[in-house]
Each structure stands twice: as structure tokens, then as C-alpha cells.
């Protein structure tokens, strides 16, 4: 049975709305634990406010953050799936309908990069990336709206035969540069290797990884733990006014590279907007996370 455009439209719009009105359950648990361990009184109070804000938004159908960001979707299509209508257009239509009808209404955040004119729509928006999954009959869709609070601090650099130390030092430099500016504690995604475009994509996929999902690569697992400990020693704390927890997680991914090794570092803020669903070939829709 083919997947129809109406399902794509409804699912992607629902993913976006859900990402705005709640925080992921795993993220809430991490924040709650961080708040319990926090020794700075201001940061401890900030963690309580964060949980209250997130819970109130979920309970009352409010926006956690008024900056609804730029809508982005990652779509992974099983090669056994058939569609009976447009996919990219369905995602655009879903976003357009949501922007016109959502309660509460949303601010215009889609911005022309040169004229700075704002709208609910714009060229190539929503930003959608596509990939394939061999031999399955489902489509996985991740929605991760992206705003300036963290987006402006993300960075990438090409190294030549870097050591692990070079890469770790670079990640810390990027976090230090951001300092108190993003809404801390952040999740840090690191993409190492591949090509310029691929490293950025690796970093983005890494930042979206659910908390607690095991890192099977021992080299990367060591980097993740060391970097998380190091960032939390910096002391920026919740909302950047000082404290023990500046990052909730550091997630690292790599691809084979060349002598040159691009390293990309991206962030999600404490509300960690990400939702995901799987549309099966028989039309069933399954929530993956968020």
C-alpha cells in the first residue's frame, strides 16, 4: 500500500507542533537529575523553572519557547516504500497550514538571509534532507526546529591529520566561544570526517541522538565522556549564569575521511526540540521519540 501525501502532511505538521509544545521525556529526566545534583542555588532554581515551564507548556498546549525556529526535517525513506503523491510538497503544505492555524499563533521567524524580511514561508523552507534505508518499508521522519540561540554558535573547521586531542580541543573552543549565550545546558553534537557537508550532517544527527542510547564505538564513547566532563567543568551553568551543568550530553559521530578531516560542532538548547515518527508502508504511524 503506498504512503499518501496527506499522511506525510499530517505527520510532519504534528511533529513540528509537538516539538514546540513539550520537551522530550528523556531530556526532562536529564534536567531533573541535573537540578537535583546542582550545587549553585541560582542554577538549581533555574532548573526548577525549566521543568515548570516545560510541564506547563505540555499541560496547557503552550509554546515552551516563543522562538519557534526554522523548521527542519530529516526524512529517511525505506527503499521498499511507495508513495502515491508528492513528499516534499506535502511537508511544505503541512507547515504552511500549521503556520496559518496553530493555537497559539506563531511569530514570523523564517528570515530572508540578506534582506532579513520575515515570514512564515521562504525559499527551501522547511529545510528537508533525504536519505535512504535499504530493504525496509517505512519512512522515518525527524523534526528539529532550529533557532538562533544555539544556531549562531555552531562551527566547523577542516583539520589535516588531527589527533584526538586536536579534535577535543576544538570542540571545547567552540563551546567556550558560545559561553553563556545559548540556553544552557546544551546537547553537543560532533561530526568528524567525511566531507564538509557530510560532517555537518553527522553533527546534526549526533545532536539528535536520544539520551542513554549507547555509543558502541569505544573511541567515541571515551571522547563523549571526557568532553562532557570537561564542558561541565567550565562553570557556565543553567541559562549561563553559573553552575555545575553546562551540557546534558556530548554525542560524537564519525565517517571515514581523507588527510583532511572536517570537524563540525552543533548544539541544541535545553528544550532540545526534536520529535520523530515512523510511517509504515501499511499506513500505520508510530512515534519514535519526543
Amino acid at each position: 500500500m503506498p504512503i499518501d501525501s496527506a499522511t506525510i502532511k499530517a505527520v510532519t505538521a504534528a511533529l513540528y507542533e509537538r516539538s514546540l509544545k513539550a520537551i522530550p521525556a528523556d531530556t526532562r529526566a536529564v534536567l531533573a537529575r541535573a537540578g537535583e545534583r546542582e550545587t549553585d542555588p541560582t542554577a538549581r532554581r533555574t532548573f526548577r523553572l525549566m521543568l515548570d515551564s516545560a510541564d506547563t507548556a505540555a499541560r496547557e498546549g503552550q509554546l515552551v519557547c516563543s522562538d519557534i525556529g526554522l523548521p527542519t526535517y530529516s526524512v529517511k525513506v525505506g527503499t521498499r516504500v511507495r508513495f502515491n503523491g508528492p513528499v516534499r510538497q506535502a511537508i511544505q503544505d503541512g507547515f504552511a497550514e500549521l503556520a496559518a492555524t496553530m493555537n497559539p499563533p506563531i511569530l514570523k521567524m523564517v528570515t530572508h538571509p540578506l534582506t532579513h524580511e520575515r515570514s512564515h514561508a521562504g525559499k527551501d523552507v522547511p529545510i528537508v534532507s533525504f536519505d535512504l534505508i535499504d530493504d525496509v518499508d517505512y519512512v522515518d521522519i525527524v523534526c528539529a526546529p532550529k533557532a538562533m540561540g544555539t544556531g549562531r554558535w555552531e562551527a566547523m573547521e577542516a583539520f589535516v591529520y588531527p589527533t584526538v586531542e586536536d579534535v577535543e580541543r576544538y570542540v571545547l573552543d567552540v563551546v567556550l566561544r558560545a559561553g553563556s549565550q545559548p540556553c544552557l545546558p546544551i546537547v553537543v553534537g560532533v561530526g568528524i570526517g567525511g566531507t564538509f557537508d557530510h560532517a555537518a550532517r553527522l553533527a546534526k544527527e549526533a545532536v539528535l541522538r536520544p539520551h542513554g542510547e549507547p555509543q558502541p564505538d569505544a573511541l567515541l564513547a571515551g571522547m563523549e565522556q571526557r568532553l562532557l566532563d570537561a564542558i561541565n567543568q567550565m562553570g557556565f551553568g543553567a541559562m549561563g549564569t553559573g553552575g555545575d551543568c553546562s551540557a546534558m550530553a556530548v554525542n560524537v559521530a564519525y565517517s571515514a575521511s581523507h588527510g583532511f578531516v572536517p570537524v563540525a560542532v552543533c548544539f541544541n538548547c535545553w528544550i532540545n526540540r526534536r520529535t520523530a515518527a515512523r510511517i509504515h508502508g501499511d499506513g500505520r504511524v508510530e512515534t519514535l521519540y519526543g
Binding site: 503552550q62 549561563g240 549564569t241
Partner: protein
């Protein structure tokens, strides 16, 4: 230990001097908000040109809070608000602070050194609001007192709101030289050699 200061606007300088970095503040009264860069440019140009603004910020608050106002006919209803990153307005904040006399500015992430200097010189503090705190902060909304420069989109207008106990917000730059952002950055930079040494040791142990 930090304290919660429940303040009604406008305030006098002695009330501002009582505030220290880390203290909590809630604001009641009229606060003016905008997140428009063009709005800030226009405010700073008005100050430099001696042109009066349509709102009086003296003793009050000018905040980087993004606000949605629903308009039905002539009725304006504020639905929600939330802070945005203040540093992108740093170029215009010294003129705004020196020329318009607010006692509070705020948003999230702080301001640059020139702005912090202007804050100290003028007896104005910077408040850090909770990013992602829209459901809590929006409880304070009561009414739109005035809306100017309405040719801009909602969040870019020069909007004055009646609020009841807006906050809590954290004092992050005070008038006594306290600046949470500067001190945290300096502390983090000072810690970096030790952090990097610890990483080397952990890699060796791993």
C-alpha cells in the same frame, strides 16, 4: 544568598543599587519590549538626533522579549512572550541606555563591554530571563499599554505592556561592577589549562 525583589516600575536609583548579581527580580507595571534590530537602530538614531520617542523609558524597563500580540479590530491582546539573545543589539544599547534612562534592560546572554559600561554609568541593571520560559513569563501579561512603529511585524514593534510580577529574572549585570557573564567567561578561560590537562590524563587512563 540571592533574594527576590518584587519591584513596581518606575523605580528610583536606590532600588537599583540594592540589586546584586544573582538576585532575583520580578517586575510589575509598564515594560517596553522589542526584538527588532531596525527598532534598536531607530531608537539609537532618535537619541543621537535629539528626537523624542513615543514612549518614556525613564525609570522603567526596556527588554529583549519576543511578544505575540493578537489583534482583533482595535483590540490588542498580548498572548505570550519570551527572551531572546541580547548581544545582537549591543551596538545600539549604549545610546539607548544613556539617552533614554531605563533602569532595567534584559533578555538572555548579556551585552558587550561598552553596553555594560553604559549600564554601570547610568544606574541600570541587566536581567536574565529564562529562555524557554514562555509559559511562566506569559502569566504576567495583563494588557498592551501602547504599540508604536506598527509598520514592523509584531515582535519588532515598540511595545509597552502592563505586566504583573514578570519574572523571576536573575540580575546578571549590576551597577556595582558585577557581571556574571564576564566573570564566568574569565573563570572558564582560567580553568581551561587544567581542563585540557585533565583531558590528557583521561585519554592516557582510557
Amino acid at each position: 544568598m540571592s533574594r527576590l525583589h518584587e519591584l513596581t516600575l518606575p523605580v528610583v536609583p536606590s532600588q537599583i543599587r540594592e540589586l546584586r548579581v544573582g538576585d532575583m527580580v520580578s517586575l510589575t507595571g509598564a515594560v517596553t519590549v522589542s526584538i527588532g534590530i531596525a527598532t534598536h537602530q531607530r531608537m539609537a538614531e532618535a537619541v543621537r538626533g535629539g528626537i523624542p520617542l513615543p514612549v518614556d523609558l525613564r525609570g522603567g524597563a526596556f527588554l529583549h522579549l519576543s511578544t505575540y500580540v493578537r489583534e482583533v479590530g482595535d483590540v490588542r491582546e498580548p498572548l505570550y512572550l519570551n527572551p531572546t539573545t541580547s548581544t545582537r543589539y549591543s551596538a545600539w544599547m549604549p545610546d539607548i541606555v544613556r539617552g533614554l534612562g531605563p533602569r532595567f534592560v534584559g533578555g538572555k546572554g548579556g551585552l558587550d563591554e561598552a553596553s555594560a559600561t553604559a549600564l554601570r554609568a547610568c544606574g541600570c541593571v541587566y536581567l536574565s530571563f529564562l529562555g524557554g520560559g514562555s509559559p511562566l513569563l506569559s502569566r504576567a501579561l495583563r494588557a498592551v499599554r501602547s504599540s508604536h512603529w506598527n509598520e514592523y511585524i509584531s515582535q519588532f514593534r515598540l511595545l509597552t505592556l502592563d505586566v504583573q510580577a514578570l519574572g523571576p529574572a536573575t540580575v546578571a549585570i549590576d551597577v556595582h561592577g558585577g557581571n556574571a557573564y564576564d566573570s564566568l567567561r574569565a573563570r572558564a578561560q582560567a580553568r581551561m589549562p587544567g581542563i585540557l590537562e585533565g583531558l590528557r590524563g583521561a585519554r592516557g587512563a582510557g
